[in-house]
């Protein structure tokens, strides 16, 4: 430390200047921060992108023949893999949030003239952006290995919109998990629930082929109606009203509960 003066420039004085009020600029800055984090943890990001791609290849080439001998298993499984990808993307957010919450940085943010939950919004927006990239990659690989993908543009938009809503809902749940967890490791452990959900659903095999207990669970698993809706849209098959309404209701319900829990936990934890 060399100089002793810090004496230039105007000082903020009461009343509060306009520039001191919370604004969207804060959220942009915090989204930028979270995205930058991803570039500093490329290994983590790569795993969350490459794992679904590997699973896609494994399901198509290793299990595909056994599960569905018609050879069109790739069409069946790709929507499931897309939702699995969402899980991996969202799960990382729990770790990021737990890291922030256990370090002192949230205190610093909270002592600044910004919306306190802005730091959470930053992580959520970054999760959406990361998921957009990994989902695009998975779809690209899916098309390469023979996924039909000849649905109408409108159907694609609807399907991807639903996936985005699903990602948003899962991410808020992940934020809540990150706030409950005692640290990043614990948060990472808790997210297994999110990652495990697709396996007992219609994502990879038709629930009708499962043992009765699992079939019942799959029937109540939110992943099932979401997958069925996305699958129907992408393959040009009819989607029953009950299915897509259930899918939307689950997404919105999880989103609302996850968000509320996150807000509550954030206020309590800090």
């Amino acid at each position: 430390m060399t100089a002793t003066t810090l004496t230039t420039g105007p000082r903020a004085t009461a009343p509060v200047p306009a520039a001191a009020r919370p604004g969207v600029g804060d959220t942009f800055a915090l989204v930028g921060r979270s995205l930058r984090h991803s570039t500093r943890q490329l290994d983590t990001v790569l795993i969350s992108v490459l794992l679904p791609v590997m699973l896609l290849l494994m399901f198509v080439y290793v299990f595909g023949g056994a599960i569905d001998s018609t050879g069109r298993y790739v069409d069946f499984v790709v929507p499931g893999i897309i939702l699995l990808t969402s899980g991996y993307g969202a799960a990382g957010t729990a770790v990021d949030v737990a890291t922030d919450a256990t370090g002192g940085i949230v205190d610093r943010f909270r002592s600044m003239p910004i919306r306190p939950t802005g730091v959470l919004t930053g992580h959520v927006a970054a999760s959406l952006a990361k998921n957009a990239i990994s989902t695009a990659l998975v779809i690209g690989v899916a098309l390469l290995v023979g996924f039909r993908g000849d649905a109408s543009a409108g159907a694609w938009v609807a399907a991807l919109g639903l996936v985005a809503l699903w990602v948003l809902a899962l991410t808020w749940v992940a934020v809540a998990i990150g706030l409950v967890a005692s640290g990043p490791e614990a948060a990472s452990g808790f997210t297994f629930a999110i990652l495990f959900l697709p396996y007992v659903s219609s994502a990879f095999v038709a629930p009708a082929t499962m043992p009765a207990v699992l079939e019942t669970i799959a029937g109540y698993n939110p992943v099932t109606p979401v997958t069925d809706t996305v699958r129907g849209l992408l393959l040009g098959m009819p989607v029953s009203t009950g299915t897509w309404v259930a899918a939307l209701a689950w997404c919105v319900g999880i989103l609302v509960v996850g968000r509320a829990a996150a807000a509550l936990l954030f206020r309590r934890a800090t």
């Binding site: 009461a14 804060d26 002192g104």
Partner: protein
């Protein structure tokens, strides 16, 4: 002018059965440095967290820069900065990115951010590490970055919770200079410390806090007076310490030493000791502050030339 920028009245806080703050009153005038001095667990951090809107008090009121900390937290936050006891920096960003982010969140004008960040990196000796990820920083570097982040936006009121903990003597002196600069610029500083020397050097007012109450308050000189005057301290050969009151002047000390010699007392070492905040602290709280802190500040402070006490020969009193 004695307009109070920080006012606390009867702050109370308890965690379950544990009363942490038991009616804390504080006043910090504009442009003043107040040091909150107290042993571990006294309630320093709790007080700072309440004043910086991070914690709601169970009772009492506090206002900072004219705004109530409970009812107008937004206005308070716009006027303050907090550097907490533990470094609050982003490990995954570089030092420069950290400061940029904080500058944006503090709503510095976009056009001035670059220059301001560069200025603080220089001020805190971090230019060389500016483009390195904070994860690779040493503890002291992290702390300096943390402090830089707190001073970016030229806040009216600066809260520093144990700002020099973990800094080497050179960085500590540098920080003291920076704090003096901030104050010269008109800011008000409330810092907590266990380093008595730090309170002595920096603070116009010291508030001693113990068991959640402010038990003494005054200028460092006033506090020292409460524990008595200067004395000549003699380490008598064969053991034992003798103290003889003095006004510290050369003739008086010479008279005392001549007297000692005339009486044929063999003395190993001698020193003129003026009361220190150590003595005040001991007297008031009945316990020594962290001994490493005392040892460090006493022994290794390189700028002993600014020591205000009229000590002729310095020896450390054995504890």
């Amino acid at each position: 002018m004695t307009e109070n920028v920080v006012v606390a009245r009867g702050l109370r806080k308890a965690y379950g059965d544990l009363t942490v703050l038991d009616g804390v009153d504080l006043d910090v005038g504009r442009g003043e440095v107040l040091a909150l001095l107290g042993p571990n667990g006294a309630g320093k951090t709790t007080t700072v967290r309440i004043l910086s809107t991070l914690l709601r008090p169970d009772g009492g009121t506090a206002s900072v820069a004219g705004h109530d900390v409970v009812h107008e937290p937004g206005a308070v936050r716009a006027a303050i900065s907090l550097t907490g006891q533990y470094a609050a920096v982003d490990e995954l960003l570089t030092g420069e990115e950290n400061l940029r982010l904080m500058a944006r969140l503090a709503h510095l004008p976009r056009t001035s951010i670059r220059a301001r960040v560069a200025e603080l990196l220089t001020l805190f000796d971090l230019e060389d590490a500016a483009r390195r990820v904070v994860k690779t920083y040493s503890g002291g570097m992290r702390r300096r970055l943390d402090l830089a982040a707190g001073l970016l936006a030229r806040p009216q009121v600066v809260f520093l919770d144990e700002p020099t903990t973990g800094l080497d003597p050179r960085s500590r002196n540098g920080l003291w200079d920076v704090i003096r600069g901030v104050v010269a610029d008109g800011a008000t500083v409330l810092l907590t410390t266990q380093y008595l020397e730090e309170a002595d050097r920096l603070a116009g007012t010291v508030a001693v806090i113990d068991h959640g109450r402010v038990i003494a308050r005054g200028t460092p000189a006033e506090l020292k007076q409460t524990v008595g005057s200067a004395h000549v301290e003699l380490a008598v050969a064969g053991g034992g310490v003798e103290r003889i009151a003095t006004d510290g002047s050369v003739p008086d000390v010479r008279r005392i030493l001549a007297d000692v010699e005339r009486r044929g007392i063999a003395v190993d070492r001698w020193a003129v000791r003026t009361p220190t905040l150590d003595d005040v602290f001991l007297e008031l709280t009945g316990s020594a502050p962290d001994t490493p802190a005392v040892g460090q500040t006493r022994d290794s402070a390189p700028d002993a030339d600014v020591d205000p006490s009229p000590v002729l020969v310095t020896t450390r009193e054995p504890r």
